[in-house]
Symmetry: C2
Subunit: 232 residues, 2 copies
DNA sequence: CGGCATCCGGGAAGATACTG
DNA sequence: CAGTATCTTCCCGGATGCCG
C-alpha cells in the first residue's frame, strides 16, 4: 500500500474582516486585487477567459483563474457554456453581479477628482461605455434623442440617449444615427481629453460615420468633475 | 572614508493598474487591504491612531501606519495636531476624502444582499451611524421630524431625521427627543436584526431614554434589501 | 502611552513555461 | 484556447523594541 498524498481541496477559509458593516463584507467578497476589474469587464455581457486576459493587461492567468473561481463561489458570476455550434466557455455576471454597477460609478466619480488620475492611460471598451452611463450630464442631454454606435476592435456597442438618460449595450449598429469607429482611448481623448474630432480623424485615430454635428454634441455630454485643490 | 550605506527612502512606486478607468484609479488609491475601512472610521470626524486600532479589530499597527501614510500622500486624509491643551495627533479626512461616502453606500447596499452577510458580527459605531444614512427608507420616514441620540462607549452621536432624510454627526445630546445607550451591535440587533427593544432592555444590552414610541418607530425605518435567490 | 521602525513567517500576486 | 505548474517577489500580519 503506497502512501498516497491526498490533495483534498480544502477550500481555504477566505480571509475576512469579520465586520458586520456592509461595506466590509463587500470587501470580503470583491476586495482582492483584480476582482472588481474582472467584474467591470463583464458588465456589458459575458466574455471568454482570453477576452478577459486581453482586456485586463497585467493580470496573470493564474490570478484570473482564482478570481473567477472566487467570484463564482460567491454567486457573483457563473461559468457557462454557450450552446452549439459555439460551444465555448464564457463567464457571465449573475443578476446580483450586474447590480454592482453603482459601485463602479461611485468609485469612478470619486477618483476622477484625484490629481493623479490620468485619462490618457489604456482603457477597455467596457470601461469607456460604462463611464458614459456614469458621467452623462442630464442637463446637457436634455431634449436629445439619438442612437449612437461604437465600433471598437471587432465589437460594436450601441448607446441610446433619451432625454437626459443614456443606455448602453453590446448590440448591432443597423439604425444608429452616428457611428464612431476607433480604439477606446481615442474615443476617450475626444470625450474626456477635449481633443477635437477633426484632429483625431486627421491622424487616423478615429472615424465618424453619419450625423456629424450630433457627434460634436455627443462628445460634450460628459463633463469631468473638477480636480481637487492641491495644497502642494 | 567609510563606505556608507544610504537607505534613501525610495518611495516605492506604488503598484498601479495602469488603467484610465476611474474605478481602476480609485483602486490604485484605496484598493489595498484596510484602506477603505480606515477611511470609513474617519467619516464622522477625526480620530487618533489608537482609536483607529481599537475600532478596526484585526489591523496591525504597522499596516495602519502604512495606510495612513499612503492615504495622506494621496490627499485623502491629513495628519493634524489638535490645539493645546489637547495637543494630540489626529487623522482627519480632507474634503475630498469625505466625498468618498457614496462608495461605502454603494458597497454596503450591494453586499447587504449577499447570502453570506452576517449582521451579527462586530460593528463599529461609525459603521452603524453611516448605515443609517445609507439604509433610511424615505417612505417610512415621511413626515417624521426628530432628534435621536446615541451613546456608544463614551462617544455620543446625534441623528436628525427631517421628512425623509437623515443627517448624522458626532455631537452632544442635549435636546434629543430620545437617546439610545448601548453598544453598536446591540443597536444593530434592534434595527437590522429585528430584536424587540424590550428584549434588549431586559437583558441589559440597551437602554432607551425619552420618547419610547419614537424609538419603536425609529428602529423600523431601515429595511434591509431582500437576499438574493440561492440556486444551491 | 502613542507612534513608528525592524525583523520574520506565511500567503497572495506576478512572471514564465508548460499541457490537454 | 483555456487554463495548470512552478518559481520568485512582494504584501500582510504578528512580535519586538525604540523613542518622544
Amino acid at each position: 500500500m503506497k502512501s498516497q498524498k491526498i490533495t483534498l481541496r480544502e477550500p481555504h477559509p477566505r480571509r475576512s474582516y469579520e465586520d458586520a458593516c456592509g461595506a466590509a463584507h463587500a470587501l470580503d467578497l470583491v476586495g482582492e486585487r483584480w476582482a472588481l476589474l474582472v467584474m467591470r469587464e463583464l458588465l456589458l455581457g459575458p466574455k471568454r477567459f482570453s477576452d478577459l486576459r486581453a482586456d485586463l493587461p497585467g493580470i496573470s492567468a493564474n490570478v484570473l483563474t482564482q478570481r473567477l473561481e472566487g467570484l463564482a463561489d460567491s454567486g457573483i458570476l457563473v461559468r457557462r457554456k454557450l450552446p452549439p455550434p459555439a460551444s465555448v466557455q464564457v463567464y457571465e455576471l449573475t443578476p446580483w453581479g450586474y447590480e454592482s454597477e453603482p459601485i463602479f460609478q461611485a468609485l469612478g466619480r470619486w477618483a476622477a477628482r484625484s490629481p493623479e488620475h490620468d485619462p490618457s492611460l489604456p482603457l477597455s471598451a467596457v470601461s469607456l461605455l460604462i463611464s458614459f452611463r456614469t458621467m452623462l450630464d442630464p442637463q446637457r442631454a436634455r431634449g436629445l434623442r439619438a442612437r449612437i454606435g461604437f465600433r471598437i476592435g471587432d465589437e460594436s456597442y450601441l448607446a441610446r440617449v433619451v432625454d437626459g438618460r443614456i443606455d448602453v449595450a453590446r448590440d448591432e449598429l443597423e439604425d444608429a444615427d452616428l457611428v464612431f469607429a476607433a480604439s477606446a482611448p481615442a474615443i476617450a481623448a475626444a470625450v474626456y481629453g477635449g481633443r477635437p474630432l477633426d484632429a483625431l480623424e486627421a491622424e487616423g485615430a478615429l472615424t465618424v460615420k453619419g450625423n456629424r454635428s450630433l457627434a460634436k454634441r455627443f462628445v460634450k455630454l460628459f463633463p469631468l468633475p473638477p480636480k481637487i485643490a492641491q495644497s502642494t
